[in-house]
């Protein structure tokens, strides 16, 4: 079964007519694929699904959650974390506060990665961590800070690369034990983040499509990684403008490894690798 563009449009219109959510500027291919997956998971055709969205309480919210992609990892892409560790975060060492926003934080693995890194740099105390996502199920998982061990086991390598090793000095090795930050229970298959990390972030539901700044704050650093790949160019630009407005001058924006800023907005940032600095 292949959905036609008209059917996708019909779905998008139904959602926007029945709720505050708007998927009209989501990237075509992945949106189509997500709808397709929802139809298979619900063993449904599009018309039946849409009728259910219109008539059944709570079903629309469930579908909206299913549209979003929630894959994330601890210290995904160690290079970018090394950049943060050696080039970016030390610049904030003299600040009184450090405001960091994880926009589209999903289940929170990178929020915990950031706090672990800040703690190793002695900067966690003065940091305020804000984390938002569209999907409240993902946010609840982020608050719990509890992850399946077998899905995350490979990412302990990433922890070692970022926290224990120094790519500029192979003789340096900081033997930081995992249980300083999380408990691993192989029997119950759980990695559980420690309480002092869990209590720190301010988690909020937020839809980047609608814009606005739910924290009424300005930020030194915004991380928005592998979120805008699901947006069309027009929406990407709106989101970049939103970030620009809410960054301090010389504040940083970190994107995913294969995400990039295009067009006029690029003139307002200096780019180095995957990190942009507001001029």
């Amino acid at each position: 079964m292949i959905l036609s563009d008209q059917e996708v449009q019909y779905f998008v219109n139904t959602i926007s007519n029945s709720s505050n959510y708007d998927f009209s500027e989501y990237s075509d291919k992945s949106l189509k694929r997500r709808i397709h997956k929802i139809l298979i998971d619900n063993n449904s055709d599009l018309i039946t699904l849409i009728n259910k969205i219109k008539s059944k309480d709570g079903f629309l919210d469930k579908i909206v959650k299913d549209i979003t992609v929630n894959t994330t990892e601890l210290f995904r892409d160690p290079q970018i974390w090394q950049t943060l560790k050696y080039r970016i975060l030390p610049r904030f060492a003299k600040n009184k506060n450090i405001n960091i926003w994880h926009a589209g934080c999903s289940t929170g693995q990178e929020v915990y990665s950031m706090m672990i890194l800040l703690n190793e740099l002695g900067l966690l105390e003065k940091a305020k961590i804000f984390a938002s996502d569209l999907n409240t199920d993902a946010l609840n998982a982020a608050k719990k800070g509890s992850y399946k061990y077998r899905f995350n086991i490979g990412y302990l390598d990433n922890f070692d690369k970022v926290i224990k090793e120094n790519p500029f000095n192979y003789e340096e090795y900081n033997d930081v034990p995992y249980n300083k930050y999380f408990k691993i229970d192989k029997v119950t298959d759980v990695i559980q983040m420690n309480d002092f990390l869990k209590q720190k972030p301010i988690f909020r539901q937020h839809d980047l499509v609608k814009g606005g700044n739910l924290y009424f704050a300005k930020f030194d650093l915004i991380l928005c990684r592998n979120v805008i790949i699901y947006f069309k160019y027009s929406l990407q630009n709106k989101v970049f403008k939103l970030f620009h407005e809410h960054l301090y001058t010389n504040g940083y924006l970190a994107l995913g490894m294969h995400e990039t800023m295009l067009g006029e907005i690029t003139s307002k940032f200096d780019k180095k690798g995957q990190v942009y600095r507001k001029k």
Binding site: K29, R34, I229, G256
Partner: protein, 185 residues
């Protein structure tokens, strides 16, 4: 008359793909979309390894990058690579499909929708069934389907799976694939 070439491969395809890329003319008229599985720990260095031998530039594209002829686009590690109808790359971190990310099926299927009968698809050596379904979609959309001769493949699961689900236009050895590509306009 063709507008794009899409190639899928997994275990045992690296030497074949480097041989193909080293044999293309510098002014190869099509973009080359590469969806290749790699070992989990080989996250970086793959594009460099391919570039050493390739006559055309190979990149791991950025999301929304527009597709140009004479250039190779390698699906980045840990991302699915889709082709949008406006001939731009779209990346996704959705769950692996058939244990694969990138999924060859998804690259082939979306490329088939974008290029229809102007697309050539090649499935090479590989140890799982990813790509078979995508090649079928490509064929259904009017594209030209080529499968590496299973007798020549280091691992023939992928090519045999493809031959099981779809008719193809050619079953070629590496040499024949290269000769064919050298003669397309």
């Amino acid at each position: 008359m063709y507008k794009a070439l899409v190639i899928g491969g997994s275990a045992g395809s690296f030497q074949v793909i480097t041989k193909i890329l080293s044999s293309l003319p510098k002014n190869f008229p099509l973009p080359v979309l590469l969806s290749l599985h790699r070992l989990k720990h080989v996250r970086s260095g793959f594009v460099e390894a391919l570039s050493i031998k390739s006559t055309i530039p190979i990149v791991e594209p950025f999301d929304k990058e527009s597709i140009k002829p004479g250039k190779g686009y390698l699906a980045p590690s840990n991302y699915h690579m889709y082709i949008e109808l406006n001939k731009r790359i779209a990346l996704s971190t959705e769950e692996p499909v058939n244990h694969s990310r990138p999924s060859i099926d998804l690259t082939f299927e979306t490329a088939a929708q974008a290029y229809r009968n102007k697309l050539i698809g090649i499935i090479l050596s590989g140890a799982n069934k990813d790509g078979a379904h995508g090649l079928k979609k490509l064929k259904q959309a009017g594209g030209l389907a080529i499968v590496q001769d299973p007798n020549e493949c280091q691992v023939k699961t992928m090519t045999e799976a493809s031959l099981k689900v779809t008719t193809v236009d050619h079953i070629f050895t590496t040499e024949q694939i290269i000769n064919f590509l050298l003669n397309i306009k």
